[in-house]
């Protein structure tokens, strides 16, 4: 084991996959000499050359669409949007082309592409550079959606995403890039669609993904002081959803809090809550609680931004509410 930051783990995953399979290419802005703002493709240009390190002009719609065409021909593009917010100008190739091509052609073609995108609040980037938009992608049939919380998970899941035959949206929280943790040195693969219990507990299940897993773990530590034993379930992959893992945990704890950084309204947390209500109602000792970003524009001013996205205090409050619920 060696300690790596998430950005280095992501770099390793892509680098190793490019070495393994000559069909894997990277595409996006500033991928060449600069090696990407987070150092993801540092050294790639010298190693793999400009044909496989496609440094594009600033035209997300055009190059994401190009990736779809290349994928139809058997290339495995790993596309980067510099911020997930930029999906606003590149949604058609993702939503109407990549996601639908296999189905619309009666199963003739696969679109083995990955769209990587940094996301999330906490860096004072204001309204157009701070969103968590996973809900836009989970809503569209044909897309798989991954959002890891640790360097090791990021590496193992990204390698699976690159090898997957379907379009995968890979969402990386910007505030996680610099956090170091242990990553196996040997080949490390994590299958898509497998959640991970990051902390075992018996009183309440906190379901989270991406940065909110870290807040959930902090909250669990805090809750220990009050004798509340929280289980933290990191979904890691949002589509396909690891329902068996959710079911197992809910049947153990009978109380659920779902945490997402993205906007509360129409969020994926609401979707999971509904599925639990539909299928595990008898298991619940309390109504499922959501902790989510406010229905507002991500603000710039630090105290405002801190109030915008959820943190461990919000999770602690929500957990206390469900475990103290009385009919």
């Amino acid at each position: 084991m060696s300690k790596l930051s998430m950005s280095k783990a992501i770099r390793e995953a892509i680098y190793e996959e490019m070495l393994r399979d000559e069909n894997v290419i990277v595409m996006g802005e500033d991928m060449g000499r600069m090696g990407n703002p987070f150092g993801i493709t540092e050294g790639f240009l010298d190693k793999f050359g400009p044909d496989r390190v496609v440094e594009t002009p600033i035209c997300e719609s055009g190059f994401t669409g190009m990736a779809v065409g290349a994928a139809m021909r058997g290339i495995r593009p790993v596309v980067e949007l510099m911020y997930v917010d930029f999906i606003g100008v590149a949604m058609d190739p993702v939503m109407n082309q990549a996601a639908k091509m296999r189905y619309m052609t009666g199963g003739q073609v696969n679109i083995p592409m990955v769209v990587r995108a940094p996301m999330g609040a906490g860096r004072r980037n204001a309204g157009q550079h701070s969103q968590c938009l996973e809900t836009l992608f989970t809503h569209i049939p044909g897309l798989k959606v991954v959002s890891p919380s640790t360097p090791a998970d990021a590496k193992g899941l990204l390698k699976s995403a690159i090898r997957d035959e379907d379009p995968v949206i890979f969402l990386e929280h910007k505030t996680l890039y610099a956090i170091k943790d242990e990553v196996p040195e040997e080949e490390h693969i994590i299958p898509l669609g497998e959640a991970d219990v990051k902390r075992e507990g018996k009183d309440v299940t906190i379901i989270a993904w991406s940065r909110q897993v870290l807040f959930a773990l902090e909250a669990a530590k805090e809750l220990e002081k009050d004798g509340i034993d929280a289980e933290v379930l990191d979904l890691r992959t949002l589509v396909p959803l690891d329902w068996e893992a959710i079911k197992k945990s809910v049947c153990k704890t009978h109380n659920v809090v779902i945490v997402q950084e993205g906007y509360r309204r129409s969020g994926y947390a609401g979707e999971i809550a509904t599925q639990i209500m539909e299928e595990l109602f008898d298991e619940l000792d309390s109504p499922v609680e959501r902790v989510a970003g406010l229905n507002t524009v991500p603000p710039f001013s630090p105290p405002l931004e801190d109030a915008f996205f959820p943190n461990s205090n919000d999770i602690v409050k929500a957990v206390k509410k469900v475990v103290n619920f009385k009919l």
Binding site: D51, G65, M104, T105
Partner: protein
């Protein structure tokens, strides 16, 4: 730049093949309009009646290994690139024997083995897909050319600029084929664009561009052939604009009241099939021979229609099949 040479010599076989394909498309789509009127076809049907010279002249200049992206008005492109009319018709009837098992319909016919990277229901969306196919050929150092069909409407879409800019910068083997039929649904191109021709934009990208008579199948063939050769030799992309006219509405059921009847009648006199037939007769090809082709096409389309009508619909269990390549069941259920 290149010009159309009137003095080219063509084999009779090729000329008759082009005539046959133009007729095949016309008769296929004429049958569609009949079936649509009778309520036998669901959805939207966009025909290219009147544009067959552009379609056939273009595909004649491509090799089997070359790729195309098509549009919502794509029946002709697919047939000219080698798609079979029976599987096409079955697809449009929503039958499981169609190219896409009935799941795509009129706007989404694709056959990757024929180099058809798909018709597309989103205007302008095929342009970057074709460009990505061109990028693939460059990465693999292989010599297929990809040709992107799009209309005058799509030429004002951002994808047009984004794609051609990249293809030009990286010398990708792509031909951008603008079928300028002068109307984006109801809007005349001259009311939303400041230049007479679309191909002049090529200058802005530092690539060749040419505008040709899109109802002259040989003029189209020559222009595209030169563009394909230019791309295949590694010189990069170019724009070929074919000026033509769609004789029917945007889709079946559109009376096209936004166009002047006089202009439409003028274009009817320039019908590409009539023109080509007259030209073939001047070359000494027998009328009987052309009539025989017409009869053969009538028969083929009747049989294709019969095939479509008698084919089964997909089983309802297919509704969620093939959304994903792996883990499909789990990924569609939640």
């Amino acid at each position: 730049m290149w010009i159309h040479l009137n003095e080219k010599q063509y084999s009779k076989e090729m000329l008759l093949h082009m005539y046959e394909n133009m007729l095949r498309i016309r008769k296929f789509e004429t049958k569609l309009t009949e079936c649509f009127m009778k309520g036998m076809l669901a959805g939207n049907i966009h025909t290219c009646v009147g544009q067959e010279a552009t379609v056939v002249g273009t595909c004649q200049a491509l090799e089997k290994r070359d790729f195309i992206t098509s549009t919502h008005r794509g029946h002709g492109h697919c047939i000219a690139k080698g798609a079979k009319t029976d599987k096409m018709m079955a697809e449009l009837f929503g039958k499981v024997t169609g190219y896409c098992r009935g799941k795509g319909g009129s706007m989404h016919v694709a056959d990757i083995s024929l180099g058809i990277l798909g018709a597309n229901g989103i205007v302008g969306a095929g342009i970057p897909i074709a460009t990505g196919s061109g990028l693939t050929s460059k990465i693999r150092k292989s010599d297929e050319v990809t040709l992107s069909f799009f209309g005058d409407g799509a030429s004002n879409h951002g994808t047009f600029h984004e794609s051609i800019n990249m293809a030009a910068a990286w010398k990708l083997p792509v031909v951008y084929l603008c079928e300028n039929n002068q109307y984006g649904v109801s809007v005349n191109i001259n009311t939303v664009t400041n230049t007479e021709n679309i191909a002049v934009r090529a200058q802005g990208y530092g690539i060749p561009g040419i505008t040709v008579d899109g109802n002259d199948v040989l003029a189209v063939y020559e222009a595209v052939k030169a563009a394909v050769q230019y791309a295949r030799e590694g010189n990069g992309p170019s724009i070929v604009e074919c000026k033509t006219y769609r004789m029917r509405g945007h889709y079946e059921g559109d009376p096209a009241a936004y166009r002047s009847k006089e202009v439409t009648e003028e274009w009817r006199k320039k019908d590409p099939i009539d023109r080509f037939r007259a030209y073939l007769l001047t070359l000494g090809i027998e009328d009987d021979e052309l009539t025989a082709i017409e009869g053969a096409m009538d028969k083929e389309i009747e049989e294709a229609t019969e095939f479509a009508i008698t084919s089964p619909y997909p089983d309802v269990s297919e509704v969620t099949l093939d959304v994903y390549t792996s883990d499909n069941e789990r990924s569609v259920i939640r």
